[in-house]
Amino acid sequence: MNKVYENAEKAIFDVMDNATIMLGGFGLCGIPENLISALVKKGNTGLTCISNNAGVDNFGIGLLLKTKQVKKMISSYVGENAEFERQLLNNELEVELIPQGTLAERCRATGAGIPAFYTPSGVGTEVAEGKETRVFNGKKYLLEKAFDSDFAFIKAWKGDRMGNLIYKGTARNFNPMMATAGKITIAEVEHLVPNGELDPNQIHTPSIYVNRIFEGEKYEKRIEKITTQ
């Protein structure tokens, strides 16, 4: 069994135009930097990206927007990105906005074989338009459905050769659910370690979800808002 790839480029060899890709991260925290760079280089177009945010102008998914590789963003919050705004206003980009908790739960449902679930989030709002509502115990809920995603691009702190992953800090965010939800899940890690080095009690993403893994060449880890005491 070999899941280890030499680098991002090799790991994304079969990504096709018009693919749907989930990308982990919250803001610029915990994003798959090397996979994004490789995807820019590979140049696939017509992509649908499922990601909580859309990066900033010169980093993260912003890089894929600049090269106009993205057809549609499915996100909960897309501020902080002038190029994004320009494309959106010019109808060069589709955007679907989803409440953050619903986005997270839909990713989880996808990986957990749950085709649909009910949630209170968005009841009575624009988000509810066209969706089934249903009352349970006197409270209204919306029916939300799982995604269908060709790939998941994941960033973890440490990973072993089998694909077990451990995240650090709030860089965990959407990565674990998305890892379960890709038809092909590709993980980049800061430290690729031998099997047996990670404590089985502390694995955040079990290896079964990870199809490919590689150690990222470098991590810039740009910070959006450096705040200090």
Partner: protein
Amino acid sequence: MSLNKFQIAQRIANELKDGFYVNLGIGIPTLIANYIPKQISVVLQSENGLLGMGPFPSKENVDPDLINAGKETITTLDGSALFNSAESFGMIRGGRIDLTVLGAMEVSQSGDIANWKIPGKMVKGMGGAMDLVASAQNIIVAMMHTNKKGESKLLSQCTLPITGLKCVKKIVTNLAVMEISNNQFLLKERAPGVSIKEIINATEGKVVVPDHVPEMILN
């Protein structure tokens, strides 16, 4: 004299109780962390995956892998826990957050809140706000009583696209503390030196004024 945003935060801090798990939205709510009474202990949730949010780091301790929901660098505390976004919103929807404080563009007298979208302007998204307002048992809105044009933000009905229905329990503004009660704004407290008339004039929605409306106490 109407309150500034720091004083609004200070007033809301009085609502905190020992042992509360609290989610503070971006803007005025974030400031509340600075006024937590010393004798109580509350746990701050950051919905990107942290319970037990600590203060900003020293310069040497800035960690790009540790940010809050406003994307600011932060720290953890003894007893903190980190988790993924599904778990985070699970605890939110599950009703485990004792108090949620949010900013708003409009609140209606039935407790509807609008704080995510202005038609005609670039829409950035609702982030976690719709999940928070749909689930929290105890929501306080922190905002200015009127907008930059001087128009009331406390309305009979929201004019902007709403974030959640009938969810706000209490509103603390620069002028007053109001509670939602029977589809009305029940005036509970006034800012020091602010008259009841001033508050009524600044409120488009229906205000109920009890016999006694004390001035706010800011500890």
